[in-house]
Symmetry: C2
Subunit: 195 residues, 2 copies
């Protein structure tokens, strides 16, 4: 039987972790690889692993991303050490012979783009959440956003593929003194029931 | 500056955690409330918090769920201490006056069901992932599944609402000796790039 993690770990992952607008510091490439080497273990249906990631760090990459951002997300994203484009590949099934070798899982999805759209969006979003919590587990602060033009990002970063952007995540070190008060959450009884 | 969590915490969350088919033990209602009180803090766009949860525990609830399950998911789900129906509410915007009090966020979504479908599916899936990792953080084992008839689950559990089922999660205590070898993951360079 496994114990619960210590209280300070639950705080770092969930209870005191916050979404940050202003992120500074440096995030080196080794940290990005460690981040992926954690999040990759999170479960997806039939081990689809549809998520794809671009880590935007250089000025050239920021210049490609900038025009796609909503005005309110522009300055903070240009200033962040890294912005992750969390995306998903609608052709994820092509890798299932490697990822799910026990059965011909590729055939479950080949020729059914509508099914793949639902599966890739669901499981790619799960993997985006694994990235957020893996980043917090590594001591990074995060700033996820969906205020941007997906079609522009896809054109700039994924042209000629079936990879589609999902959401963005700024990564770095936040400053708790600059945070606004936390927004409320719904109570258990407002969103859940035990039957 | 925040440190990375200790290695054994990273193991419990990601590196040695596994999806379990056979789950036993007991999961009391207090644990389900603690689970929600962790996962609720995970970020969603504009604090939408669209996820809704039904914790299926009783025989009567299992009897409602059973006919919707794919054959391969039936026996393990009937035997699990709890099955969570992870769902999302397409009318999540009605709660934004409480959840996002700084602006009239309700008006961003009212009258645009197609936009709400994308937002609720993305952010509700993120919250499903937060549930999976919060369960592991509490020492529970998980068995997520998407092999079921969503329309049947919606009819049985969410009739008369705009709440839609997303995926299912069995919860309990697993037995590592019964696991198959772990399926592979894609390498960093196959799914990611640093620009």
């Amino acid at each position: 039987m496994t114990d619960a993690l210590p209280a300070e770990c639950l705080d770092q992952l969930f209870r005191t972790a916050r979404t940050h607008n202003e992120l500074g510091g440096e995030v080196d490439d080794d940290t990005l690889r460690r981040l992926y080497d954690l999040l990759k273990w999170g479960p997806t249906s039939a081990n689809q692993c549809p998520a794809r990631f671009v880590f935007v760090k250089s000025q050239a990459a920021k210049d490609k991303l900038g025009p796609a951002l909503d005005e309110g997300n522009y300055a903070k994203t240009m200033a962040a050490p890294v912005t992750v484009i969390v995306a998903y590949d609608l052709d994820f099934h092509e890798k299932l012979p490697v990822l799910f070798p026990h059965a011909d899982a590729r055939s479950w999805f080949a020729g059914d783009l509508e099914k793949r759209k639902v599966q890739a969006f669901r499981n790619g979003s799960l993997q985006g959440a694994y990235l957020l919590l893996a980043a917090r587990a590594l001591g990074l602060d995060t700033g996820p956003m969906s205020g941007f033009d997906n079609a522009k990002v896809d054109e700039a970063f994924f042209k000629g593929t079936r990879i589609k952007s999902n959401f963005l995540v700024n990564l770095g070190r936040g400053d708790k003194s600059k945070l606004f008060p936390r927004s409320p959450r719904l109570s258990f009884d407002e969103v859940a029931r035990i039957e």
